[in-house]
């Protein structure tokens, strides 16, 4: 298992031409791992192999502050908020992975 609760991560920028479960609004964004949810088959692979490959990998809850997603303007109009997204391990990289 690559990540632990409390780790800072960045969502990979990869935007594949196939089914994936990364919402566009978190691509490239920095978040904090808040939960390890268990191991589940990666949907991208399940669809690419028509259900044949259901190898599991860790799934995490990752929390993003509003300003990380939308800039600071949103805070003044909407008050403080954060968005938690559930993301598979291969969607994530450690925060300092890229310079």
């Amino acid at each position: 298992m690559r990540f632990s609760v409390g780790d800072s991560v960045r969502v990979k920028l990869d935007d594949p031409p196939y089914h994936t479960r990364v919402p566009r609004y978190v691509r490239g964004r920095r978040g904090v791992v808040t939960e390890y949810q268990g191991d589940y088959p990666l949907p991208d692979t399940v669809v690419l192999t028509k259900g044949a490959d259901r190898t599991t990998q860790p799934l995490y809850g990752v929390c993003f502050p509003a300003e990380e997603l939308w800039g600071t303007g949103q805070l003044t109009t909407d008050g403080p908020f954060e968005v938690s997204v559930d993301l598979w391990e291969s969607y994530l990289e450690p925060l300092d992975a890229r310079l």
Partner: protein, 91 residues
């Protein structure tokens, strides 16, 4: 990025809070529900593949479809791609 991936997109207008509550607004929606439930199982199709089929709807069609119309489109895509039914039988 596919058309179903709408988080953060603008311009959809207000949430229609007062929509009718029942699961099926029309009889055909219940038939679509039954068709999808039954056929996904008999075709051996995963939920992920069903979602993928819906996501591949042309964007304009996706945005102009109601929820069960999207189910119907996804189902028909799967049926024709797997050669189970000819496209002209599903129009």
């Amino acid at each position: 990025m596919r058309i179903n991936d709408v988080g953060g997109l603008q311009g959809f207008g207000p949430v229609e809070v007062g929509e009718p509550e029942e699961q099926f607004h029309y009889e055909w929606e219940a038939r679509v529900f039954a068709l999808v439930r039954t056929l996904l199982r008999s075709m051996g199709v995963t939920l992920d593949e069903f979602r993928d089929a819906i996501e591949r709807m042309p964007p304009a069609e996706y945005l102009n479809s109601s929820y069960y119309e999207r189910w119907l489109a996804g189902l028909c895509t799967l049926l024709t791609e797997r050669g189970l039914v000819r496209p002209e039988e599903l129009t």
